[in-house]
Subunit: 363 residues, 2 copies
């Protein structure tokens, strides 16, 4: 255990170094990261290794060039930690007053606006707040070796789950039974569901974000399943479209178009490619079919399900080496929808599929 | 359906009236409520009836004395709505520019600091922001008839689930299998889990917030299960402590103390009772046993698992008629923990148990 800890420590030290460089560049005296029962900051896990869960009463990471300190409430699980100091606090008031003392001399405080609630602002008094949310997303968009390993692992088990799902598919009654199956499998793997899974059958597959229903008629014709796992904090995201009988001619031609589209996009992905341009290429193909994109073509994935780069129209990012992302082109007609999604890593100039089982299936 | 809509509309109109009164008192020109994939505001459901789920791309409720308008992103499910106007928006940028136009003439904007991220602040430009988060929690702490009905319903099904859990208990292997059972039962009822359930066996029961494990040895001695359902947006929260064999003498005496404590506290609850004082009474009893409280005695419950009143040391609230809350006294020794939890409603001067199956069981 100690050997493993030592081995991993160097990754966390490298991450800390990057954070300190960022703080220096932003001329900040320190950074305050916060997670409470209302908000969740994956950066705390990224920088400390803490096994952070969304239900924590509170967790706070305090970083300056001289101290690296983690506070959390009594009765919570922490996991192996890569910080200089840990403080288990029994009361929020106790924490508040200690925090106040710690940051007393600071002038500029770096915080992550993406997970900092306005109701927490009073913790910082009248200090000058500097948003480093987007910088942190950029920093995390290139995965280190340890992260790639975790992402490969979660994607491997996601593929496994997808294959189990396909082989048991005919046993499922309603949408919610499939969702239960996913929860159970995740749980047996020691994983969680990364997000509330989407299971939509028949006409409901033409919606982008429907909630699994327990009242719809049994699974039939076409069923869209979009789910992801979270293991050791890292997420996957995969979409299957499943026909339980031979698709009609019109459906078949759409399936072929989507298949071709995925292949074309995969082949076009190289280092430095503009994500906005990639999205436009996707949009053009859809437009030729009198369709409009209903959502982004994909998104970065890591500690969060949606990270940078965003593969959308207004995206200013470029595909980088060691970035991990999904491609999830979808087409939605009035009566049904088709979507496929897999996770990818742009390795050393080569695109690697991290999941392989996202796709369209005819049982 | 239309008849039901008409019947329910009066409740939503009453809620809107309360909100407009609050805005007037706070001298605000309007209110902006926001939910995105990163933040969730139950007030949107409370004021509009929208079937809000945490994964929505974005939802925005805009309220002034003359308009009551709900925006949400294309492809999302809405449910029956009690607003004047609905706008389905396909792009966030489109929404942003429309919002900007709408609030152009406003000077003071009311927002809920408890679910508003700093990264969303730029949507409001340089308007004066007024926090109504706590006021809304207070407003919602007295439940209306419609809410009481929903809470009774979710508590009824929670009791049912708890009884099923007890009768299947010996079949469960590890902690995570019990968690899967809960997800499956919730799903079959058309419900969700209100929070990530706590299942902790043996020594792990002495922690307050452990995550169900898939590696611990089979369930044994004592198992603590803390779970809740969410139906139609309303939450329940219930805790069982289960012994699978006759407790030891030392355990039995603790069980008796906890039983007596719950009874004493239940009997003491009357309208106007100070929640801080109630907590102190709980603390005193524990102190006599050389124990310290590890968490609050309970919390309000409704659209959120933790609402007002808070039954904790620093609480400034009082128990009101039509408030719903949990009591969850716990005692944690080195080797095991005991906790019981049920939901309650203070009806017309009478305390009603909404769940009845939280408790300590010896199988």
């Amino acid at each position: 255990m100690v050997r493993r800890w030592r081995k991993l420590k160097k990754y966390f030290e490298a991450r800390k170094e990057k954070l300190l460089t960022l703080l220096k560049r932003k001329r900040c005296d320190g950074a305050v990261f916060l997670a409470t029962s209302r908000t969740y900051d994956p950066n705390i896990r990224y920088f400390t290794g803490m096994r952070l869960e969304p239900h924590y009463t509170f967790v706070c990471l305090l970083v300056t060039k001289d101290s690296y300190k983690l506070y959390f409430s009594r009765g919570e699980e922490a996991g192996p930690l890569y910080v200089d100091e840990v403080r288990v606090v029994s009361k929020k008031d106790e924490f508040k007053s200690e925090l106040k003392k710690e940051i007393k001399s600071w002038k500029r405080v770096a915080i992550n606006y993406n997970s900092f609630l306005l109701s927490h602002s009073n913790l910082l008094g009248r200090k000058r707040k500097v948003d480093i949310g987007r910088d942190l997303l950029k920093l995390r968009s290139r995965k280190d070796e340890l992260e790639v390993k975790s992402l490969k692992k979660v994607c491997y088990y996601t593929d496994l789950t997808a294959r189990e799902l396909l082989s048991s598919f005919t046993e499922f009654g309603k949408e919610n039974e499939l969702a239960s199956f996913l929860f159970d499998r995740a749980s047996k793997l020691g994983a969680q569901l990364a997000f509330s899974p989407i299971v939509a059958t028949g006409k409901r597959s033409s919606q982008v974000h429907p909630v699994p229903s327990y009242t719809t008629s049994p699974l039939r014709r076409v069923t869209l399943v979009d789910f992801g796992l979270r293991m050791d904090g890292y997420c996957s995201d995969l979409t299957l479209t499943i026909f339980d009988r031979k698709p009609q001619e019109s459906e078949l031609s759409m399936i072929e178009v989507l298949d071709g589209l995925v292949q074309e996009i995969e082949e076009g992905i190289i280092e430095g490619l503009s994500c906005g341009k990639l999205f436009l290429r996707f949009k053009e193909i859809l437009m030729r079919l009198n369709q409009k994109p209903q959502h982004a073509l994909g998104h970065g994935i890591g500690l969060e399900v949606h990270e940078l780069p965003s593969l959308s129209e207004s995206s200013r990012e470029r595909i980088q080496i060691n970035s991990t992302f999904t491609l999830e082109p979808g087409m939605y007609l009035k009566d049904f929808g088709l979507r496929v999604e897999n996770c990818y890593l742009l390795g050393n100039r080569k695109l690697l599929r991290l999941t392989k089982n996202g796709g369209i299936y005819v049982l």
